[in-house]
C-alpha cells in the first residue's frame, strides 16, 4: 500500500495546463512540441499519495488540484563553484589603480 501524505503537509502539485497540440499559435516550433506545465505549492487538503491527484490550499487561500509531486519541496538554487574567469578581476583592477596611483 502506498504511503499517504498527511493532511496539512506543505507540498507541491504539478499539472499539464495545455498539451503539446494546444499551445498558443505564436509559440515557436520547439515550444509547440512540449506541454505547458504548472507547479504550485500549498497545504494538502486531504491525505493523498505521491503521484496521485491531490487538492491543496495555496498561500492565497485558493483550492487547486494536480498531481502530488513533492512533500516539503526544497529551495535548491545556490551560487555554485567560483568561476575562475571572475576570480582574478579584482586583483587585476586594483593593480591598475595602484600603478596609476589613483586608488583612494
Amino acid at each position: 500500500m502506498t504511503d499517504l501524505i498527511e493532511k496539512g503537509s506543505w507540498v507541491e502539485i504539478h499539472d499539464v495546463v495545455l498539451e503539446a497540440g494546444e499551445r498558443a499559435p505564436q509559440v515557436p516550433q520547439d515550444t509547440q512540441r512540449v506541454p505547458l506545465q504548472m507547479r504550485v505549492k500549498g497545504f494538502l487538503s486531504a491525505p493523498a499519495a505521491i503521484g496521485e491527484q491531490a487538492d491543496i490550499e495555496t498561500l492565497s487561500g485558493r483550492q487547486l488540484r494536480g498531481k502530488l509531486v513533492q512533500v516539503n519541496p526544497a529551495y535548491t538554487h545556490s551560487f555554485g563553484a567560483p568561476i575562475p574567469e571572475l576570480s582574478t578581476i579584482g586583483r587585476e583592477v586594483r593593480a591598475l589603480l595602484h600603478d596609476k596611483g589613483r586608488a583612494r
Binding site: V34, Q37, L59, S60, H77, G80, E85, L97
Partner: protein, 470 residues
C-alpha cells in the same frame, strides 16, 4: 473549444482586464490610434507629492545616492585626457524587498486596498513579484504571482528560483509555469477566478510610482554636486523604468539631463523558445524585451501601456553579458557593493559613457538590486556552462548570445553599441500602420500623437509613413 481553452480565455481578455484594473481605457481614446496619455496618468490622482506620501508609509524610496570614486578612477585611467565623468549609483537595493520595483508595486497595492479588492495578482518572473508580495503583506492583501520559471526538462532559471523563494517568504502564492507566452493566458484565468486587482507593470500606477526615483536623483545630485546629472542611465526592458525615471527628472526640473537606455544584447535568442530559455544569463534588462517594447509598447497585459520609453530616451545602447559580469565584479571589489545583475547593465554602459564626458560632468546609474543565491554571476555562469555555453576572457565583441560569454581582460575593452533611434522610430511607425484597422486612415490627431510617441515632427512622421506605404 472548452471553457478553459486558450482561445476561450483570450476571448474574455477585455472584460477580465476591465474588472481587474479599474481603469476604463476607452475613455482616453482620441483618434484611430491616438489616446490622451497625460490625462490617463493625471486621472489617477497621484502627483509626486501623493506618490511619495504613499511610499513613505511603507519605507519605499529615499534610497542613498552613492558616488563610485574607485570605478570613476579606473574609468579615468583608460580615458582620454580630461575625460571620465563622475559616476554615481542610486542604491535601490535599500528598498524593503531589495529593488526599485517596490516603487512600482506601492501605488498599485495602495489602490487595490482603497478600492476594496481582496488581493492583488501580477504576471512577473522578476523582482516585481517580490515587490508586490511584500507590499501586499504589509497591506494585508492576498497575493498571487505567476512566473515563467522552468524549461521542459524541469530546469529552473536560478534567478527566477530565487524570486519564487522570496515571494513565498512574503506569503504569496506562486504559480510556476514552463516556458511560453501562455503565461498571460494563465494570468487571465487567475484574475477571472479570484477577482483580484491586476498589479500590472504597465498601468499608470506602476509608472507613476517610478517617477519618485527620477525626482530623488535630481534632488540628491543638486545636493551632492550642485547640479543636475548630465546623463542618467536606466536598464531598459519593458520601458517602465526609463519612462518613470525620465518623467520624475523632468518634474524636478532636470530637463537637460540626457536619458540613456541600456540593455544586454541577447540578439538571436527567442524569448518564447524552450531551448533558448536557460541559455540566457539575464532574465530582464535585455534586448528580448526592450526591442519589442520600444518599437511597440502596447503589447502588455493592459490595453494601453503607461510605459512609453521612446517618448523619453535620448540614446539607446547595448552591452554584452560578459561586460555586465565584469562590471558586477568591479562594483563588489572596488566599491564594496555586492549587488544583483539589473542595475549593472547600466553600470557597464556608464563605464563607457563616462569616458565620452568631461571629468566635471556626471553620470547616474539609476538602480541597484539585492543579490543572493541564484541571483548572482556565479549561479548564472555555472548554469551557462552546464548548458554548453563557452565562457572565457577576451574581447567581449567576440561573444555570441546563447553560445559564448566573453569577459573583458581589461577595462579598456568595455564598449557600448548605439542603437540607431531613427531605425527604432521607423519600426514603431511600421507597427502603428499594422495596428490601424483595415480601411481606416490617420487623422491629424493621430499624426500629432505619433509625433509625441517618436519625438519627431508630424511632417517627418507623415514622410516616413509615406515611405513605408509607398
Amino acid at each position: 473549444m472548452t471553457a478553459q481553452s486558450y482561445a476561450a480565455i483570450m476571448a474574455q481578455r477585455a472584460d477580465i482586464m476591465r474588472a481587474s484594473v479599474g481603469i476604463d481605457y476607452e475613455r482616453y481614446t482620441t483618434g484611430r490610434l491616438a489616446f490622451d496619455y497625460e490625462r490617463l496618468m493625471a486621472d489617477t490622482g497621484y502627483d509626486i507629492t501623493a506618490a511619495r506620501a504613499v511610499q513613505n508609509s511603507t519605507c519605499v524610496g529615499n534610497t542613498p545616492l552613492v558616488e563610485l570614486h574607485n570605478i570613476t578612477a579606473l574609468v579615468r585611467s583608460v580615458s582620454a585626457s580630461g575625460k571620465g565623468a563622475r559616476i554615481f549609483v542610486k542604491d535601490e537595493a535599500a528598498n524593503p524587498s531589495g529593488s526599485f520595483k517596490d516603487r512600482r508595486a506601492s501605488l498599485s497595492v495602495h489602490e487595490a486596498r482603497k478600492r476594496g479588492y481582496a488581493g492583488v495578482a501580477a504576471a512577473t518572473s522578476g523582482n516585481y513579484g517580490a515587490a508586490v508580495a511584500s507590499q501586499a503583506a504589509k497591506a494585508g492583501l492576498r497575493c498571487i504571482i505567476v512566473q515563467e520559471a522552468f524549461d521542459s526538462a524541469g530546469i529552473a532559471q536560478p534567478e527566477i528560483a530565487e524570486k519564487t523563494r522570496a515571494c513565498e517568504a512574503y506569503g504569496a502564492e506562486v504559480m510556476r509555469l514552463s516556458v511560453g507566452p501562455e503565461l498571460f493566458y494563465m494570468f487571465l484565468r487567475v484574475l477571472r477566478d479570484t477577482g483580484y486587482f491586476n498589479a500590472s507593470l504597465y498601468t499608470p500606477y506602476s509608472v507613476l510610482g517610478i517617477e519618485t526615483l527620477g525626482y530623488e536623483i535630481a534632488l540628491q545630485m543638486q545636493e551632492q554636486t550642485g547640479a543636475f546629472p548630465d546623463a542618467v542611465i536606466a536598464t531598459h526592458a519593458g520601458g517602465g523604468n526609463l519612462t518613470g525615471t525620465a518623467r520624475g527628472l523632468r518634474k524636478a526640473g532636470a530637463v537637460d539631463s540626457q536619458v540613456i537606455a541600456a540593455s544586454v544584447d541577447l540578439s538571436g535568442l527567442h524569448m518564447a523558445s524552450d531551448h533558448d530559455f536557460n541559455r540566457k544569463s539575464f532574465t530582464t534588462g535585455h534586448t528580448g524585451f526592450s526591442m519589442p517594447f520600444t518599437t511597440w509598447p502596447d503589447r502588455a497585459d493592459v490595453p494601453r501601456n503607461a510605459a512609453r520609453a521612446l517618448r523619453y530616451m535620448d540614446r539607446f545602447v547595448t552591452v554584452t553579458q560578459g561586460e555586465v559580469f565584469y562590471t558586477t565584479q568591479l562594483l563588489a571589489e572596488l566599491e564594496g557593493l555586492e549587488r544583483g545583475p539589473a542595475g549593472n547593465t547600466s553600470l557597464a554602459a556608464a563605464c563607457v559613457i563616462a569616458q565620452q564626458l568631461d571629468q566635471a560632468q556626471s553620470v547616474v546609474v539609476q538602480e541597484t538590486e539585492y543579490t543572493g543565491a541564484g541571483k548572482h554571476p556565479l549561479a548564472q555562469l555555472n548554469l551557462a556552462r552546464r548548458m554548453g555555453v563557452d565562457i572565457r576572457r577576451g574581447d567581449p565583441r567576440e561573444s555570441t548570445p546563447g553560445q559564448s560569454i566573453v569577459i573583458p581582460e581589461h577595462p579598456s575593452q568595455l564598449a557600448v553599441v548605439d542603437i540607431d533611434l531613427d531605425h527604432v522610430r521607423r519600426s514603431y511607425l511600421q507597427h502603428a500602420l499594422e495596428s490601424l484597422p483595415q480601411g481606416e486612415s490617420l487623422s491629424d490627431i493621430d499624426l500629432a500623437f505619433l509625433a509625441d510617441e517618436t519625438r519627431i515632427s508630424p511632417t517627418r512622421v507623415q514622410e516616413i509613413l509615406n515611405e513605408l506605404t509607398g
